[in-house]
Symmetry: C2
Subunit: 282 residues, 2 copies
């Protein structure tokens, strides 16, 4: 082990004129697992129970997209552009192949990345996310809260968890864990918010046959969501599983967009089963 | 351990005038896991990899419904009637609580059993199944093949597995495992086929608010299916998860009705995670 979520130093690597901030920790062997973060989020918006849990079996790499928080440059205004940045970052680290875990807009980026750079991706984990040009969009109130200048704990409890007492309590526990690290990355800018909003808007547009690109994602894939995600409606996860040829779906009970933060131990166990499975394993 | 799928002797217990055939094996401690079988199936239609895998952590109990194969009596003509028989059987064994794994029509029975005998059921696993009065029914060709007088290997490969080479190969491997035991239970009769078909027909009828009873199933539940089940369409599993308050859904890739026989090791691992979780575990 080389460090943990809390202790890993923030490092930087230059690629295509951007200085990318990242942290690498966990096992020194195994296919590295690269995390693609949610709307506006950075290095410190993950859950230490999830990242450290998965880092037991492989190196974990967290990074900021171009323009996010401590990364330099500007956030791309398309999902494909963000995936191009991810590919430049991976190559700059000298890695030939990674596993990818993408959450929310990070799941859009992960799909584009796996589809357009298939040689770089061994396996794929798509969390709280959906396909290009999905069937439904969230309630306008959701978008309003997600755009608050400084997202608060209450915003996250509303956006990422179900209204039940158990889910809200799990959300508060996550919020505490997510702040355990002292030297938190700075928040991302309003320009980054605007660029990512543009990328989400572009992702909602049709391109070719609906869901056609999903048939071309050949990596073993795990799709995960909560039972009632109000940000990226849960049915989108079902759609992903139905169209990606080798995809397993897991939906957790009484949960929302952040189900992996509500059930971190189960999530780590479920993801580990898929990442550790050999090809064709029954 | 007291025996295995292959070695456990067939025992009998009398309840409400029926002599039920059953086999019990595996761990001597833990909440027993009772299996409710599919259309026309009996003690030998399970997969030794699944039953022995789950028996490592708890006693496993396989049984035949009344009228099926080596059980005496007549199969009930409603799902509720079949669940009443299950309750009589459990009480005759002197058990106060069990976990239940129901497959296909056995999943219908498991829902009725958990809903109407909640004190008898700790946790629920619903495989390749759907709710009362679900949205769609299978293709008529499926029903025709399922009614063949003597179901063949080819029938099972068509009904339980996807058409892909990998799924068909997994199906043939299952078929070999399923015949490893020498003293196979006799097949069930045409009268039993007719009674179970009537029970399925009754289950398709509305009763009260659609899916309303699912909200009253309070047990922690795992719903499992293949990505494209032609017998009980996969969307029914999504519906179950969306309406049972504490339900997790797992859909496996490139698979059909018998996904648990295609991915027996993953299935055992996934079911074990849910059965072994303590209440409220994250």
């Amino acid at each position: 082990m080389t460090g943990t979520h809390i202790t890993a130093t923030t490092q930087f690597v230059d690629a295509d004129g951007v200085r990318y901030a990242y942290r690498r920790f966990g096992s020194e062997t195994g296919t590295p697992l690269l995390f693609f973060q949610h709307f506006r989020g950075g290095l410190d918006n993950w859950d230490p129970l999830v990242t450290d849990g998965l880092a037991k079996g492989r190196p974990v790499i967290l990074f900021n997209y171009a323009g996010v928080a401590s990364s330099s440059g500007e956030n791309a205004t398309t999902v494909d552009g963000m995936a191009d940045g991810g590919a430049a970052f991976v190559k700059a680290l000298g890695l030939s192949q990674v596993d990818v875990l993408g959450f929310s807009i990070g799941g859009f980026v992960a799909q584009s990345f796996a589809h357009r750079y298939p040689e770089l991706v061994r396996k794929l984990v798509l969390v709280g996310t959906g396909p290009r040009n999905g069937e439904t969009n969230p309630d306008p109130k959701v978008l309003q809260v997600a755009g608050n200048p400084v997202p608060t704990e209450d915003d996250f409890l509303y956006l990422f968890f179900s209204p039940s007492e158990a889910s809200q309590a799990a959300g508060r526990a996550f919020w505490a864990r997510r702040h355990e690290r002292k030297d938190q990355d700075p928040p991302s800018s309003i320009d980054t918010l605007k660029a990512q909003a543009a990328a989400i808007g572009e992702w909602r547009q049709p391109r070719g046959e609906r869901y056609g690109y999903l048939k071309e994602i050949r990596q073993p894939t795990l799709v995960v969501n909560g039972s009632n995600d109000i940000m990226v409606p849960t049915v989108h996860s079902f759609t992903l599983q139905q169209h990606i040829p080798n995809a397993q779906l897991i939906l957790y009970p009484d949960s929302g967009h952040g189900s992996q933060f509500q059930y971190p131990r189960q999530f780590v166990a479920n993801v580990t089963l898929v990442l550790d499975a050999t090809v064709g394993q029954s």
